[in-house]
């Protein structure tokens, strides 16, 4: 039986990142992947001949540049191309666009409201203030406020210090920001429905909350945390789809001497005498290692591949109570050509980015009401992109690939499993919404892959199909992620670690959890740290 220094369960981007760092540090590492292919939720797959679908995650901004550089991902084939624009199509036939050029953006907003266009400057500054507070902590383990260890106290002091600098009112504003809803937050700046809706959508992406649920302002922040080449808050495509990210990570890992074993479905993490000794596969094989790292979400980790008898009772309870809600689905569509939208010129840069149809916060909130009622939104919120306008590799010339992230979709329909009829109804609600603003859309569809939370869970293994491996609400962030007492990547059992998006700083293809976990593992193994800290914001 083969023995490794470390085993990583799951070849998602965080598992690969974690393994790459361990391998780079000289450890003998294997990544075990249940599927026949790697990537987890960062995959590109040819599901329709000639078309590459980036069928789970679909845009790239949060991937830490420190890691991309350190693991030489560009040399291994990763190219992230920023996309311009973004647009929300209105029901009345109009639209609101988001240009990257500052002055053009001003004029576009001013077309709807001069006051909003001006308020956007204050809004941007205020969001940046909050972003700058969090960004330095992305590539750090979160300090434990209940601990008296020197390292925790030092980190806490640093954290507290950046708060204190803001002054009494600034600090209160920060606390308000973290606890209020994205809807209330936007209402304090803007008067135009479509502008609020365009900005507010990011406050609920991947989250089973509505735009008027307290705590969603932070989710909005999470999406502003990334940057493309130092352009904070901007987003881009991975050339070739998100599979390019996992592909480059895998090459990097292999380059450092690591191994990836596909079709290796882990049945259980084996624990003896309070320490891990390896894993048992479903096929009966056992693989030994003193370090086992789980890239799986906290529920799968503690309730599925670990045995309750090996775990302290509080961990089982905390895993059960961990909130990881399916709230979204996805449509991946092969198109015969570029559709027309609301009279928008096909060459408009607005179409290069994220497109939406929810033109008021009220529509967004009502979409959430359907989810609460246990069904998919009849009038969903979609985050739709056509990356083939930017990336020539994903569809035949002149043809297009469309990725449509859809919210809300519950993990179960009123307590029961999704049926084929439900799935068809879900798909129809999305297609109809798009077609209402795009007369030629339906005729251009060549193939459509529809994924409800059920399919996402079945394929990727994300519980309930939650894209962030757990809600990004404040009770599950920082030192509470995934749960209090276990937020520093160490599991409750010797040699067991977590490295998925269910740990700090959360999901969105950042690769930071994987890197942070590697740092802690190397620390425990008394190896020198090779994992980079974050670049300082200027």
């Amino acid at each position: 039986m083969k023995k490794y220094d470390a085993i990583v369960i799951g070849a998602g981007h965080n598992g690969l990142t974690n393994a790459a760092y361990l391998a780079k540090a000289g450890l003998n590492v294997a990544v075990l992947e249940r599927n026949a292919y790697i990537g987890g939720a960062t995959v590109s797959r040819e599901l329709h001949k000639g078309w590459t679908y980036t069928n789970c995650s679909y845009v790239c901004s949060l991937l830490r540049p420190e890691i991309a550089r350190d693991l030489e991902l560009p040399r291994h084939g990763l190219q992230v191309v920023p996309y311009g624009g973004g647009v929300t199509f209105k029901r009345d036939g109009g639209y609101y666009g988001n240009y990257y050029d500052h002055n053009r953006q001003y004029r576009e907003m001013a077309r709807h409201s001069k006051r909003d266009a001006n308020a956007y400057e204050r809004y941007t500054a205020d969001v940046m203030k909050q972003t700058r507070l969090i960004r330095p902590f992305l590539l750090k383990r979160p300090p434990d406020p209940t601990s008296l260890k020197l390292r925790d106290l030092r980190d806490l002091t640093e954290f507290a210090g950046s708060f204190m600098e803001m002054g009494e009112e600034g600090l209160a504003d920060t606390l308000k920001f973290w606890t209020k809803s994205v809807g209330d937050f936007l209402d304090e700046y803007f008067e135009t429905d479509v502008i609020k809706a365009h900005l507010g959508g990011t406050g609920v992406i991947g989250t089973a909350l509505g735009v008027y649920s307290p705590g969603t302002a932070y989710v909005l922040l999470h999406h502003y945390m990334g940057d493309v080449d130092g352009n904070v808050g901007s987003w881009g495509f991975a050339r070739g789809g998100m599979g390019a990210v996992s592909g480059a990570l895998a090459k990097s890992l292999l380059g450092y001497g690591g191994e990836i074993i596909c079709d290796a479905d882990v049945d259980q993490i084996v624990v003896k005498g309070g320490k891990v000794t390896g894993v048992a596969l479903k096929n009966g094989d056992e693989i030994h290692a003193d370090v086992v790292v789980s890239n799986l979400d906290p529920k799968r980790t503690f309730l599925d591949v670990m045995d309750a008898k090996d775990l302290p009772a509080d961990v089982v309870r905390k895993a059960q109570n961990f909130k990881i809600r399916g709230s979204s689905g996805k449509l991946n569509i092969a198109l015969d050509g570029l559709p027309t939208f609301n009279g928008l010129d096909k060459s408009s840069p607005l179409m290069l980015g994220d497109m939406h149809f929810s033109d008021s916060l009220q529509r967004l909130e009502r979409a959430y009401d359907d989810w609460k009622d246990g069904t998919w939104s009849k009038d969903p919120y979609v985050d739709m992109l056509i990356p083939t306008q930017t990336d020539p590799t994903m569809a035949p010339p002149g043809k297009h690939m469309m990725t449509v992230f859809v919210q809300y979709a519950p993990p179960k329909i009123r307590g029961g499993e999704w049926t084929a009829e439900d799935k068809a109804g879900f798909e129809k609600s999305v297609i109809d919404q798009i077609a209402a603003q795009s007369p030629d859309f339906k005729d251009l569809i060549l193939h459509c892959e529809t994924r409800t939370p059920k399919e996402i869970e079945a394929e990727v293994g994300l519980t309930e199909g939650n894209i962030f491996q757990g809600e990004l609400t404040f009770d599950q962030l920082l030192f509470n992620r995934p749960f209090p007492g276990y937020a520093q990547y160490r599991g409750p059992v010797g040699g067991m670690y977590m490295c998925g998006s269910g740990t700090h700083p959360g999901g969105g293809v950042m690769a930071a959890p994987g890197a942070n976990a590697a740092r802690e593992i190397l620390n425990d193994l008394r190896q020198p740290n090779i994992v980079p800290g974050g670049y300082a914001d200027d």
Partner: protein, 394 residues
């Protein structure tokens, strides 16, 4: 139906046809989203037109807000730091406005057009803040940036030019005064204001008369050697005259992301614009506190040794960094090397000697100079003709 996406493309001013024709260098910049010339023919000639004959500058992109209604004066008095009741009808006042923390959001001019009717000209966009400031007042605020075309006519022969254009009696207009004329059936408003520190006027008119105004002005001004000037020449003139610019010499308070990057009027040398006797205005409480506890910075105009502009320089005192330069230029008329600097207290008092660390490059070779400099009391250019009414002959 929605507008086409190109509606959001770069804007041009109503003078654009004429500006374009005059802009031989084809050297354009972007001012608040408007295509504006950095220079027309020759920056030096343009600068000296302002200082020696007449220079014309298209200032249409300047943000203009109309404030009217029964509470207009009370509103403005709460908004800005100075006492607006002292700006009579037909007068213009320079002022700044602050947030509650006493940090400058922008500077600008208030035109008292008529009873309860004002125009504010500002560098930065401000409609959001101006509307918030209207809470509790019966006042209406309109952004009229695009509805008013404006030209600055600046220089020793500017008055003669405008008189020749038929603006009779303009020579009687005092500095910071404003008056109106009829121009081809439209109202032409003229104020004796400017951003060059010289004798000069600003002309305000409805956009559809902009081209006609330009043509008449240049025709009348030909004997007085009239010439359009761009933003590069303006930059030289405003530094020479000691004028600050938002976004360059200070960070508009609400746009500042980093702690401590904004400045109070005291810290910008604009304490003279602050009337702490007014019962309430934005920033008053904080400014009272600052007055009692002291400021963090001091604005200094530096007379820098040598002829290398101290752009982006650190200011040193005894080898220690005590400040940074925000604007710098060699001033051709005053023959002085001037820099505006933010100096940490207690440094920067008038007369204090400091050192500017200047880097300059010639033929790809970088040189570092430690130039002695001295804090001076007032701007280096301030001619008598700027104030005389009627303006003396040129």
């Amino acid at each position: 139906m929605s507008a086409k996406s190109d509606d959001t493309m770069m804007l041009t001013t109503p003078f654009h046809s004429r500006v374009k024709e005059a802009c031989g260098l084809n050297c354009w910049g972007n001012w608040m989203g408007y295509t504006t010339p950095n220079a027309y023919e020759d920056v030096e000639l343009e600068y000296f037109a302002v200082r020696s004959t007449t220079g014309v500058f298209d200032l249409t992109p300047m943000n203009k807000y109309r404030v009217s209604g029964p509470d207009a004066e009370a509103y403005l008095n709460r908004l800005v730091t100075r006492d607006v009741s002292k700006i009579r009808v037909g007068r213009v006042g320079y002022t700044v406005w602050c947030d509650d923390a006493g940090q400058v959001m922008d500077d600008g001019t208030i035109f008292h057009l008529a009873e309860n009717d004002y125009r504010i000209c500002a560098y930065a966009r401000a409609i959001d803040w101006f509307n918030w400031a209207a809470l509790g007042f019966d006042v209406s605020i309109e952004d009229e940036t695009a509805e008013v075309a404006a030209l600055a006519v600046q220089g020793p022969t500017s008055c003669a030019t405008l008189l020749a254009m038929g603006l009779e009696g303009l020579d009687q207009l005092k500095p910071f005064g404003l008056t109106e004329f009829e121009f081809e059936g439209e109202t032409l408003m003229v104020s004796r204001t400017g951003f060059t520190g010289d004798l000069g006027y600003e002309l305000w008119i409805a956009p559809h008369k902009a081209e006609a105004l330009w043509d008449r002005l240049f025709e009348a001004g030909r004997p007085f050697i009239i010439r359009p000037f761009g933003t590069d020449a303006l930059e030289m003139a405003r530094i020479e005259a000691g004028f600050l610019q938002a976004g360059v010499d200070f960070m508009p308070a609400e746009e500042a992301v980093r702690n401590g990057r904004s400045r109070s009027p005291f810290e910008l040398g604009l304490g003279w614009l602050v009337d702490l006797d007014k019962p309430v205005f934005n920033g008053r409480r904080a400014l009272l506190r600052e007055q009692a506890e002291g400021s963090r910075y001091r604005f200094a105009i530096l007379d820098v040794d040598g002829n290398k502009p101290a752009q982006h320089s650190f200011i040193l005192k005894g080898g220690k960094q005590v400040g940074t330069v925000t604007s710098a230029a060699w001033c051709p008329t005053a023959k002085t090397n001037v820099a505006f600097a933010q100096i940490e207290m207690p440094h920067g008092a008038v007369g204090e000697e400091l050192v500017a660390e200047i880097y300059y490059q010639r033929e790809l070779h970088w040189t570092r100079v430690l130039a002695p400099c001295k804090v001076i009391e007032s701007p280096v250019f301030n001619p008598g003709r700027r104030r005389a009414t009627p303006p003396a002959g040129f």
